[in-house]
């Protein structure tokens, strides 16, 4: 298979805010506002952003769980939203999702066997029960769960084990792409590392590609090959993970990197050199999405939206006043 796995072209998704009046439609705010990206097979893309950045909306668009208001999402060259409902359902086995909350995303009334087998039942209805159980057992083993898990219910597991169940469910149809939206954010640090290790192992063993979404820079930096930084529905910087975090060019990326001190660094040194943003204010239409908080903002940043442009080191940045 050649060509990219997933391509997003000028994706826009707007949501209504408030209710509008009797004759006036509700105002709409763009949660995702013109986002392009490409995911090559085997090259995991991390999406970093804070609350309200549009990263989870982007995940749902990538999974064709929501339709964009404009733009296209192509999986292996096919526009997912142009497919018929039944064709889309058949394609779903190739791209699966893991959610943040292993409590909310697993049906509490079903056994682990039913939960994990469900996507397979949809993708391959012909499977007989024996063969299906074999597949479930194999995938449970791959994610490090015991055979005995088969007949248990979600509440009988710890948070980390539940997330393993969710991962098993996502992998049972042998997808090429896994969209993981904050997959370790609800877990304790000691357990988070187990799940991150598992995700990295599975990537290698099964040739998976991740679209990995998190607010936690350290987690994304650790797992992703390429990274895209989002702010208020737009991409402000993207590029190889190693380059982007080592030398951020966009003030927002720099602030994100500086905001998380390593516990090994001298707090005094760190605070002295840290790049800080102001508290967020109201977003201005037609301005840089960081203009209200950026210490480098000039008149142009408040009057014009910077577009993404390519830099020499395989990186893109949308900023009029980039860091040197």
């Amino acid at each position: 298979m050649t060509g990219p796995l997933l391509v997003a072209e000028a994706l826009v998704r707007r949501y209504p805010v408030g209710r509008g009046g009797l004759f006036t439609p509700a105002a709409r705010v763009a949660a995702v506002d013109g986002v392009d990206f490409t995911v090559e097979p085997g090259v995991s893309l991390g999406i970093v952003g804070e609350s309200g950045s549009g990263k989870s909306t982007l995940a749902r668009l990538a999974m064709a769980l929501e339709r964009p208001d404009a733009g296209r999402i192509l999986f292996r060259g096919e526009d997912l939203n142009a497919l018929s409902a039944s064709d889309l359902r058949r394609r779903r086995r190739h791209f699966q999702m893991v959610f943040q909350d292993p409590y909310g995303s697993l049906d509490p009334r079903l056994t682990v066997e039913r939960i994990v087998a469900e996507p397979l039942t949809v993708a391959e209805p012909g499977f007989d029960r024996r063969a299906r159980r074999e597949r479930v057992l194999a995938i449970l083993e791959a994610v490090g769960l015991p055979t005995a898990a088969l007949h248990r219910y979600p509440h009988e597991f710890s948070g980390g084990q539940r997330q393993r169940v969710a991962i098993a469910r996502a992998l049972i149809t042998e997808p090429a792409l896994v969209v993981a939206d904050e997959p370790v954010s609800a877990l304790d640090v000691s357990v988070q590392a187990q799940v991150l290790n598992l995700l990295m192992d599975l990537k290698e063993r099964r040739g998976l590609t991740y679209l990995f979404i998190s607010h936690d820079l350290a987690v994304v930096e650790h797992v992703a090959d390429r990274v895209m930084v989002m702010l208020r529905g737009r991409v402000v910087e993207s590029g190889p993970a190693a380059v982007l975090f080592a030398r951020p060019v966009h003030p927002y990326t720099r602030a994100l990197v500086d905001a998380l001190p390593d516990f090994d660094a001298d707090p005094a040194d760190h605070a002295a050199g840290a790049f800080r943003l102001g508290e967020p204010g109201a977003a201005e239409a037609g301005a840089c999405p960081l203009a209200d908080r950026c210490p480098r903002a000039k008149a142009r940043c408040r009057a014009e939206m910077p577009m993404l442009r390519a830099l020499a080191d395989d990186r893109h940045v949308a900023c009029f006043e980039p860091l040197g």
């Binding site: 640090v189 000691s190 990295m200 607010h215």
Partner: protein
């Protein structure tokens, strides 16, 4: 060395569990000098929040407390509630994780910041309002005068937490207890609040106990840290030195499990096997027994003593290095 501001001795907190009462804080001892900043690090179920509630005197009524919490020379555990209430918000103040649930949604923020001054009889209405304005301005609320009459929902999450801090500072407490004060906030907003808490502690000579699951947050703000697990103190020491070369296998485990600039990108993290146990399922000995690579039968049966010098202490039968 003068008498410590806060001296916690053999503190235990017991709560009822379906299987019977269990200790959620186990024999905890630590002390704090005036103006000092101590971090308490722990995962869920470590007992860190219960310790915070014990300090401020807001444990649920069903909790049983043993041991001593000596604060400015008085034992808070033995103090009758009316006297404790007199200290709360005056000498000891607290900031919680969720500013939206801790602020009253139907009262203007100026009135809420002024309230502790009125309750503790420190000021009349006009003086309290003027002080509220000064405090809001000090904690970095822009256009504080206009914001005095705003309601909590009109502010961002970061600004609401700044209002909480202003409220906590109103009576100039000697000790501020902050439980996950930045965990609900975006990292870029979190950074500003960490800097603010640290500045205020220095400027006002106010001692700070900051509680977090996040080593990086603790390391940025507290010169000394206490690591808790399963209700017990595992290790205590100077934050940076401790995270660099921990004595206790659990502290080492936490550091190794955290992705960050010290970890090699894409490499496997040193995960701690197993899960955090429920307080009613802990062994009589070290709570970390069962997940610890160095654990023995001794660890399971005998709680290790919390020993060491003034620089660092740890509770471990088989430490990674000498304390």
């Amino acid at each position: 060395m003068s008498a410590p501001l806060l001296d916690v001795r053999n503190l235990s907190v017991t709560l009822p569990f379906p299987s019977g009462p269990a200790r959620v804080v186990r024999d905890l001892s630590f002390s704090l000098q005036a103006g000092e900043r101590l971090g308490i690090v722990g995962e869920s179920g470590s007992g860190k929040s219960m310790t915070a509630l014990a300090l401020i005197g807001l444990l649920p009524a069903i909790a049983r407390t043993h041991g001593e919490i000596r604060f400015e020379g008085r034992d808070l555990v033995a103090l009758p509630e009316p006297e404790r209430a007199g200290l709360r918000g005056a000498r000891i103040a607290m900031v919680f994780q969720e500013p939206m649930t801790s602020l009253n949604p139907v009262h203007r923020i100026g009135d809420q910041v002024a309230e502790p001054l009125l309750i503790h009889g420190r000021a009349d209405r006009a003086t309290a309002r003027a002080e509220a304005l000064r405090l809001l301005d000090r904690v970095g609320i822009p256009r504080a005068r206009e914001r005095l009459d705003a309601y909590p929902h009109e502010l961002s999450g970061g600004q609401r937490q700044r209002v909480m801090i202003a409220m906590a500072l109103a009576c100039r407490p000697a000790l501020l207890v902050a439980d996950e004060p930045t965990s609900a906030l975006d990292v870029t907003v979190q950074a500003g609040l960490i800097a603010l808490l640290k500045e205020l502690s220095v400027e006002l000579g106010m001692a700070l106990v900051i509680i977090s699951h996040d080593l990086a947050v603790i390391g940025a703000i507290a010169e000394r840290s206490l690591v808790m697990y399963g209700g017990a103190a595992m290790e205590e020491g100077a934050s940076r030195a401790m995270f660099r070369a921990a004595i206790h296998p659990y502290t080492r485990g936490l550091v190794g499990a955290s992705p960050g600039r010290h970890a090699v990108r894409g490499a496997r993290l040193a995960a701690i096997p197993g899960t955090v146990p429920s307080p009613d399922r802990l062994p009589p000995g070290c709570p970390f027994h069962g997940r610890c690579a160095r654990g023995t039968d001794l660890c399971r049966d005998m709680p290790p003593p919390f020993v060491g010098g003034p620089a660092s202490r740890a509770a471990c039968h088989h430490p990674e290095r000498a304390p």
